[in-house]
Amino acid sequence: MTEAWKEKRIFLVGGPGGVGKTTIAAALGTQLALQGYRTVVLTVDPAKRLAQALGFENFTNDLQPVNLKGIKEPKLFASMLDTQRYFDKVISRFANSETQRDKILNNRLYRIMVESLGGSHEYAAMERLLEFTKDNSFDKIVVDTPPSQNALDLLNAPQKLADFMDNSVLRWFQSSNTPFSLFRQGTKMAMKLLEKLFGSDFFRALAQVMDDLEGMHTGFRDRNLEVIQLLKSKATGFFLVSYPSEVRFNESSDFSRVLKEKGIPLAGVILNRLEKKFPKEITKTSDLSEESREQIQKILDYRYSLATQQQYWLSRFETSIGKTPLKCLEKRSEEIHDLETLSQIGEILLS
């Protein structure tokens, strides 16, 4: 990433699921901390082993210092996001009164809504990020974004929630007698439909939550604007993690196109799990039996074809991203769960 990363304060690590995003976010964080920056890594759902490496084994707090060898003062912090708890906090902040807050938090349907709301993880991650940016004690913030096949899922989450919290939507569920209009007429029909579908008890409970959320929309809308501004700012870098294959290439192209449309520059592309290149053939004439020679050649052929196939997609990545910095990480035979390996990977990424 040359030296460009030094100007960045926020490192968003994103991409489709299963490409090793969490590991890369942790590696970046570890290396930044070793270079002396006070760093926080925000992650949503780290794999168990990785959580252990970062010191999450018995975490009780949502911000936890991670001990790095040879560094006395804690430089690396890890934060694991609990979406439900975080949503409660957001509700408490935006609520106009304690009564309003308690009414919402105690509603059974509100709890289920947070769980099933599309993009609730993404929203919570963006909210938490905003909080960290306002905390001046952190030099660098690394975000392991929730896996999204599409950049839009991630970037539109705050917008979607803001839309939902929109005053007119909330008012729709309230029983107030606004003047007759075509819209109201259509609305009445829709209400009737929903009630028929769900039965009146479910519908009444839902209308109650919507009623309780009244007046909170400004808070959500303002936060949404703040998030968009933050994502576009020069201090933010979006790092796309992917893998050299057809499916991943297509996904990544979509991803970076959407980022571009939204005015968010791509700071770097990281291709993970590259196969090592081995010789194509046995060159030295050694005293091998015909059988062994054949066996060995088959393995070499297989490994060669894996590497060649990756090379093809790697070159497609290179052409399509143009001047955006590209880093490749070799596939590791063993699973990664220690700080030393993480810092080695981080070193490659920042070199």
């Binding site: 489709p16 699921g17 299963g18 794999a47 168990k48 082993r49 349907l109 289920i112 809504m113 769980e115 099933s116 709301l117 599309g118 896996p147 999204s148 096949q149 599409n150 839009l152 899922d153 839309d163 939902f164 007119s168 939507v169 729709w172 259509g186 609305t187 829709a190 439909l193 929903l194 028929k196 579908l197 769900f198 039965g199 009146s200 008890d201 479910f202 839902l206 057809e246 499916v247 996904e251 979509d254 090592k276 081995f278 010789p279 046995i282 060159t283 050694s286 005293d287 091998l288 062994s292 066996q295 060995i296 088959k298 393995i299 297989y302 490994r303 060649t308 196939q309 035979s333 699973e335």
Partner: protein, 289 residues
């Protein structure tokens, strides 16, 4: 205890009416679902492939078309509309209601609604029986669980309404003897742990018929000589040792996989460049055994 009587993919699959597939993100779940559909249609079954993603999904209709597979992508809002118009005899006149921004927001946020309407659509296709087999490519494990959970939750939570009645039908389809749930995973530690957790959750929900556990992208069983000759180049020795290491690690993981109540099947990692070719290779491999 495995749930399947037959170890043969074809023998079992030819009897099924619905096959659900799920797995952690990035394990090749969609490729295995497509290959399942392809293998069955090559064996004269009329197959319908259904995919659904709560995200705006990445999809490849052209590839599927060239493979000759009938495919539907289900979307919650459209399914909701179809359902309401048909089941409730809700008049077409109120079409505008469905375009209503507010209603759209509602569908997105109402607990379990999108899962239930999608499941309802799957049930409808199952009930009409215009195909022999429905292959359903579910979202990644976490979302797949809410797909199964939602109709069950709705059935229990709300005593009245059409959705309640519909939910009963859907739940029956989930545990129907002609329905099977397959899981796609990798021969690696984390994906296997996650698959195990999914199985546990699923069995807690009801009497599902678990089918195959596909270990995707396995290192092919190419034998490494017991003694790697020291006369070979260093890089070749390194390659062979790495290959052996992968095989040994995968063998260990296979032992873990076999503890689950599914029939474990390996799919080798194919080194073809194009998606279509890979699907064909996987399908051919499935048919073989």
């Amino acid at each position: 205890m495995k749930h399947l009587n037959s170890q043969s993919f074809l023998e079992d699959s030819l009897k099924r009416k619905v096959i659900f597939l799920t797995g952690k993100g990035g394990v090749g779940k969609t490729a295995v679902a497509w290959a399942t559909a392809l293998a069955l249609s090559r064996n004269k079954r009329k197959v319908r492939l259904i995919s659904w993603s709560p995200f705006e999904s990445f999809s490849e209709p052209t590839t599927l078309k060239s493979l000759g597979i009938t495919w539907h992508q289900l979307e919650a809002a459209a399914c909701f509309k179809e359902y309401a118009l048909k089941t409730l005899k809700f008049e077409k006149f109120f079409d505008a209601v469905f375009e209503n921004r507010v209603l759209k927001a509602f569908i997105e946020v109402a607990p379990g609604l999108s899962e239930t309407v999608i499941a309802g659509k799957v049930w409808d296709l199952f009930d009409r029986g215009e195909q022999d087999t429905l292959v359903v490519d579910l979202p990644a494990t976490g979302h797949a669980l809410s797909f199964f959970k939602s109709p069950m939750g709705i059935e229990k939570m709300f005593a009245t309404g059409f959705v309640h009645r519909q939910a009963g039908n859907i739940c029956d389809m989930f545990v129907d003897p002609y329905t099977r749930v397959d899981i796609v995973t990798l021969p690696e530690e984390m994906p296997l742990v996650e698959s195990g957790q999914f199985v546990e959750h699923l069995m807690g929900l009801g009497k599902f018929h678990l089918g195959f556990l596909w270990l995707n992208q396995c290192t092919p069983d190419l034998k490494v000589p017991d003694k790697i000759p020291s006369t070979l180049d260093k890089s070749i020795r390194e390659c062979l040792e790495d290959h052996r290491f992968r095989l040994e690690r995968e063998a260990k993981n296979l032992v873990e996989a076999k503890k689950m109540p599914l029939v474990v099947k390996k799919i080798p990692k194919f080194s073809s460049e194009a998606v279509k070719e890979t699907i064909e290779q996987i399908a051919a491999h499935m048919e073989e055994k």
